[in-house]
């Protein structure tokens, strides 16, 4: 066996019991690792109706089947738990170096159970695993905590995963951070760690991950490396400009949300584009483990320096808040990294707050002197801080845009799906991507099936973004393939250059499993259905597979996508049908049985 270490580390925080157990390889064959296997273990072990903050909830921090191998982009891992933001089966992905280090230490995943009676952190050095007191770092930010834990550990090669004040204060937008600037950002997973009194996990491993077929692996690796290097997106576009290269592309297509999605074209977007970042702020690339793409940025601005920002972050603190001040965007990004918050949800919640203020729902006296108008950069940065520390109106905002807008009787002003904030693409001008938003198993998300790829970027082929034809099938295939990639521990961006057959080849050579393409993709479909079944168990229905009213009723007011609404009603029945679900969006017994679930 290769790829997998075959071992799980299970920590009962209430009882302070640490044990290792063998990975269930039969389940792994069906659900791979990472998002898939951890998701399956979650649904097997944790009652669906558990309160996300109760000790009965569990956190699975799971590397992928290929994480830590020599495969390009194999630096990723998943944080899987019940989301406190929306009750879905949260699976938040992060890169960097922490995941590979966990594999080198000999573990495919860490399972956190129960609740520590006081703040603790975990220290893992191969098979030496300890639960340590974390009182002295509780309350400290991500950067400080990282350096203190490293100093205590006494080995600079150790990698730190930690929550910040956002997670400690149970913000529903709290991230789990690792390697300083990397985030398992979405679904509020950082708050679940906070609820268990776990500040972080430092890990150092001295082993290596084996390949089942070393010769075959060599050939497969050189093949995919060549494809990644020669592909225009992964070989040139992303390395040169990072993800923020999308600012201009998405804007020129007229699907770039402005002022909380009130508009979809920003004439000044170039002021905060990837090109502008490269020209004025970029110091160096900041790649993840074994990544030839190196889209990560390290920037310097007037008052500081640090990792990022990504496209989503630039957009959400920029145009979506009516802001074109790159300094403020860098500051807000840095604050989120430092305080352990999801940039997308925080920025989108501030934007929703701005619209609530614009329309008179939030009154000036609630602001304690901090401006909340679109375009006010200084105010925006201060609201990020107030959200992390739950100060004043910041406490309401820390619950996310849906609960904020609902508390003013205007939930329709939250641009979210299943209570999670939508990312930087207006669905009215990308019909397939909009269907993906509505059906994403974790709520508003762009990386559960990045249909922007065919609809805007022309990869693997160009689709008419306004057309409905074939979109339900495209969405299903993208969702299933993404579930596979997420569970291998490879970066989703590898898929700009690689196809299903490449992934099958890599998985087979490295793990020794013998999947056909169809069987591997079926793992993705199984993972998708497992997540869907969890959502149905917690009470989600067809009615929740929807988009904010604005997208269904109000045409885009201006720009290249002017006049379009999202035609979800026409797409959803076909989507259910290609998934093998009934008219209510429930997987049929035939579908479940065909998948061997």
């Amino acid at each position: 066996m290769g790829g997998y270490t075959g071992k799980i580390l299970r920590i009962n925080l209430s009882e302070k019991i640490i044990k290792t157990e063998a990975l269930n390889m039969e389940l792994a064959k069906k659900y791979l690792s990472g998002r898939g296997l951890a998701g399956k273990m979650f649904t097997d072990e944790v009652p669906a109706n558990v309160d996300a903050f109760s000790p009965e909830n569990k956190v699975f921090i799971a590397a992928g089947a290929l994480t830590g191998t020599n495969t390009p982009t194999s630096g990723r891992f998943m944080v899987v738990t019940k989301s406190p933001l929306n009750g879905t089966l949260a699976a938040s992905n992060s890169g960097g170096y922490w995941g590979p280090q966990l594999k080198f230490a000999g573990y495919d995943m860490v399972v956190l159970e129960g609740k520590a009676d006081a703040p603790v952190y975990l220290s893992i050095y191969d098979d030496k695993v300890e639960i340590k007191d974390a009182e002295h770092v509780w309350g400290k930010d991500v950067y400080e905590t990282t350096s203190i834990l490293k100093a205590e550990f006494g080995d600079d090669q150790a990698k730190v995963l930690t929550i910040g004040p956002g997670g400690e204060n149970l913000s529903l937008m709290a991230a789990v951070m690792n390697d300083l600037y990397r985030a398992a950002g979405r679904n509020g997973v950082g708050a679940v760690m906070g609820s268990k009194n776990v500040k972080g996990i430092i890990v150092r491993g001295t082993g290596k991950v084996e390949n089942a077929n070393p010769e075959g692996t060599k050939v497969a690796l050189s093949n995919v490396l060549k494809k990644i290097r020669e592909n225009g997106v992964t070989g040139q576009g992303l390395p040169t400009y990072g993800t923020a290269v999308l600012v201009n592309i998405i804007n020129e297509n007229g699907v770039y949300p402005v002022n909380n999605f009130q508009e979809a074209y920003d004439p000044d977007a170039d002021m905060i584009s990837g090109e502008t970042m490269a020209e004025k702020y970029l110091v160096k690339k900041d790649p993840c483990y074994r990544c030839p793409i190196a889209c990560g940025r390290y920037c310097k601005w007037d008052e500081g320096e640090g990792g990022g920002p990504e496209y989503e972050t630039v957009w959400v603190f920029g145009s979506n808040c009516g802001i074109h001040d790159y300094e403020a965007i860098h500051q807000a990004n840095d604050l989120c990294n430092k305080l352990g918050l999801d940039t997308i949800s925080v920025g989108a919640t501030i934007a929703a707050g701005m619209e609530l203020f614009q329309r008179g729902y939030i009154k000036p006296e609630e602001l304690a002197g901090i401006p909340l108008e679109f375009g006010n950069a200084k105010g925006m940065v201060e609201w990020v801080r107030k959200i992390a520390y739950c100060e004043g109106l910041g406490a309401k905002m820390a619950l996310g845009s849906y609960r904020l807008a609902e508390s003013y009787g205007a939930p329709e002003l939250s641009m979210s799906v299943k209570k999670q904030e939508l990312p930087a693409y207006d669905p009215r001008g990308v019909q397939g991507h909009g269907l993906q938003y509505a059906t994403s198993n974790r709520g508003g998300c762009h990386v559960r099936g990045y249909v922007i790829s065919p609809e805007i970027l022309g990869l693997p082929e160009k689709l008419d973004r306004f057309s409905l034809e074939g979109k339900a099938t495209w969405v299903k295939i993208f969702q299933d393939l993404t579930a596979v990639i997420d569970s291998t521990g490879l970066c989703l961006f590898s898929s700009f250059a690689l196809g299903l057959t490449d992934y099958t080849g890599l998985v087979n050579e490295i793990t020794g499993f013998k999947y056909t393409d169809e069987e591997l993709l079926a793992c993705g479909e199984r993972i998708w259905n497992n997540e869907r079944l969890h959502n149905l168990r917690v009470g989600y229905t067809k009615a929740d597979d929807t988009l904010p009213k604005r997208f269904l009723e109000d045409p885009i007011p201006d720009g290249p996508s002017k006049g379009h609404v999202h035609r979800l009603d026409e797409l959803l029945p076909e989507y259910y049908s290609v998934r093998g679900w009934d008219k209510e969006g429930v997987p049929t017994p035939e579908c479940i049985s065909a998948l061997g679930m």
Binding site: Q236, L246, N253
Partner: protein
Amino acid sequence: MHVTIKLFATFRDGRPKVEIRELPEETCVKDILQSLGIAAEEVAICLVNGRDANEHSQLVDGDTLALFPPVGGG
């Protein structure tokens, strides 16, 4: 006629980000590519007024042409 030409990413190397050109009627995208020294196969995304176009698309007065090399993200 007047056409606005916008270039992005590496197409900006040694070329203006944006320019308004006076062009003869019936100018095609490929004529502009030629004058810019960009080969058609280097273009990944070609938009005229925000809608998909290609090298054979004919331009009219007031059009905005946007050209991108292969780029992506998420």
